[in-house]
């Protein structure tokens, strides 16, 4: 969905959001909005701007919930960005979101366009809860590229992706694996209000439990639990 169509549906009472290139920020109905459009590549400057907006919200509007609307094809592929350590800029954004969360700002992510790899890692995957529109695209890599890199025939990957949520692109797979909590359909303003009314403990990451309950990710929960409470193996 285009951002111009999305915003009026999220905020039927009006909003005040300023666009600058592929970046935008502002507020609607007392909810802070930070986002990108047009499949933005997340480079150092964009991550820095988003982080700065998170810090500004913490300072100027304590407790105000934050809605992340990030449409991204992934990280910016750039030698200059890598030279100044692009990953440090993306990590900085992640730290800012986490500090905001711990200062009482509820953080909701909505994938309304594309969410790919590091662009997804640095935005909606850091929210308290991440949602998606049905037409959103979520992925690491498409299957033909994956086939080239892994040298596994495309037909094999296509056949397996019918039964496995583990590697093929698609919102449904990310819901099954617990990373996307659910789809927003119909009355989007209502969906937003419901999400804002929810509660998540900043120290509890429930995505593994969701993934297991939904049958899309069967090992992560048990493996992490075993390591968390493992009996030392020198007992034998």
């Amino acid at each position: 969905m285009k951002i111009d169509d999305l915003l009026p549906q999220l905020f039927p009472n009006g909003y005040d959001i300023a666009f600058d290139g592929d970046y935008f920020a502002g507020q609607g109905d007392g909810v802070a909005v930070i986002g990108t459009r047009d499949r933005a590549a997340i480079g150092a400057e964009l991550a820095f701007r988003m982080a700065g907006e998170v810090l500004r919200i913490c300072r100027d509007h304590p407790g105000r919930p934050i809605l992340l609307l990030v449409d991204t094809l992934g990280q910016k592929m750039s030698r200059k960005d890598e030279t100044i350590c692009l990953n440090a800029y993306i990590a900085h954004l992640a730290k800012c979101l986490d500090v905001a969360r711990r200062r009482g700002h509820r953080i909701i992510g909505l994938v309304y366009g594309e969410a790919v790899s590091a662009g997804f890692l640095s935005s909606s995957l850091l929210a308290d809860a991440c949602y998606a529109l049905p037409e959103a695209e979520v992925k690491v890599m498409n299957l033909p590229a994956m086939s080239r890199v892994t040298k596994i025939p495309l037909e094999r990957l296509e056949a397996l992706s019918e039964t496995s949520a583990v590697f093929a692109p698609g919102v449904a797979n990310y819901i099954a694996m617990g990373a996307v909590r659910g789809l927003w359909e119909g009355d989007l303003a209502r969906c937003l209000q419901d999400a804002l009314a929810g509660q998540d403990d900043p120290d509890t990451d429930r995505r593994r439990e969701d993934g297991e309950a939904r049958g899309g990710r069967l090992l992560a929960c048990r493996v992490a639990a075993e390591v968390r409470g493992a009996v030392p193996n020198d007992a034998a």
Binding site: A44, E45, F48, A51, G52, L55, M77, S78, R79, K80, E82, T83, I84, C85, L86, N87, A88, Y89, I90, A91, H92, A94, K95, D98, V99, R103, S117, A118, L121, L125, K139, V140, M141, M146, R156, L160, V166, F167, A168, N173, Y174, M177, G178, A179, D203, D205, R207, R208, L219, A220, C221, V223, A224, A225, E226, V227, A230, P232, N233, D234
Partner: protein
């Protein structure tokens, strides 16, 4: 002096910790292998490419994870990632002196891409939760494969990064950038260029890393001095924001790392790649990142 880059993940753990102190959680004989690799007909390691456990360092209890770069480039799959996340969560209750992450990883394992991406996100959240609890998380990056992708982001989420000159740190690997954007953007075959961009020296000059020589003893010595938590607060992040903003303004449009080093006031910056670790640290002392 034994080399860090030539050691396996388990040799690094053994060389770093007090002799005989390592106790592994979910060890190889438990066979926590990746079912997804098996399904694709790929060999699957008994530990899924990462060893996690507890030990002591100069008598202090630490939790430790070490990725094995030789197995699928240290890439993160479902089991691999869950082991690291579980270890970080365990540290919240056990409160060791530090959690040591001996990273070597190309990022997400494509054979289980969605599970790997989500697993990295869970590691990121667990690192942040642990930092909020005041337990320091320290990254040791000295492997041949470097640290890229989501683990490159994770690295910069931690309290401290200790890195060798030969190690690399970045988001997209040079080969990926060259393949996607063309050789004019990044010539991945130009090894000197790759190291100027991603290597330990440039990361140290920018203030992201503490540089050590490629030996397990050197990493150990740097660690002992680094086990203090660095709290994440609105104030510390505003300071970090100012630093990163300054870096972006001053250096964001520069063509080469050498231009950045020159702009910082380092004499003869083009000689820096040739200096050994001690001479390098002497040469960049007082330079303004």
């Amino acid at each position: 002096m034994s080399s860090w880059s030539e050691a396996t993940a388990r040799q690094r753990i053994a060389g770093l910790l007090d002799a005989g102190s390592f106790i592994e959680f979910l060890p190889p004989e438990r066979r926590a292998v990746s079912p997804h690799l098996r399904e694709l007909g790929q060999p699957a390691a008994f530990d899924d490419g990462v060893a996690v456990g507890r030990g002591t360092l100069d008598g202090q209890t630490v939790l430790i994870a070490a990725q094995e770069g030789a197995f699928m480039g240290g890439a993160v799959g479902e089991v691999h990632g869950a082991k690291i996340t579980g270890l970080l969560e365990r540290a919240r209750t056990e409160r060791p002196a530090a959690v040591l992450l001996l990273l070597e990883s190309g990022g997400v394992r494509l054979h289980e891409a969605n599970a790997g991406l989500i697993a990295v996100s869970e590691i990121m959240r667990a690192v942040l939760a642990l930092r909020a609890a005041g337990v320091p998380v320290i990254v040791l990056n000295g492997g041949r494969y470097g640290v890229f992708g989501g683990m490159g982001i994770t690295t910069c989420l931690c309290d401290t990064l200790i890195m060798s000159e030969e190690a690399r740190l970045g988001l997209s690997g040079p080969e990926v950038i060259e393949t996607t954007m063309g050789v004019e953007e990044f010539d991945a075959a130009d090894r000197a260029l790759v190291w100027r961009v991603t290597g330990g020296k440039n990361r140290t000059i920018l203030g992201e890393a503490t540089l050590v020589a490629d030996s397990i003893d050197a990493f150990r010595a740097a660690l002992v001095a680094a086990m203090q938590p660095k709290p994440l607060t609105l104030e510390t992040l505003e300071a970090e924001h100012a630093t990163l903003g300054n870096r972006l303004d001053r250096f964001g449009d520069m063509e080469d790392a050498v231009d950045i080093w020159a702009a910082m006031g380092i004499d003869n910056p083009q000689r820096l790649p040739l200096l050994d670790t001690d001479a390098f640290l002497q040469a960049v002392k007082g330079a303004g990142a």
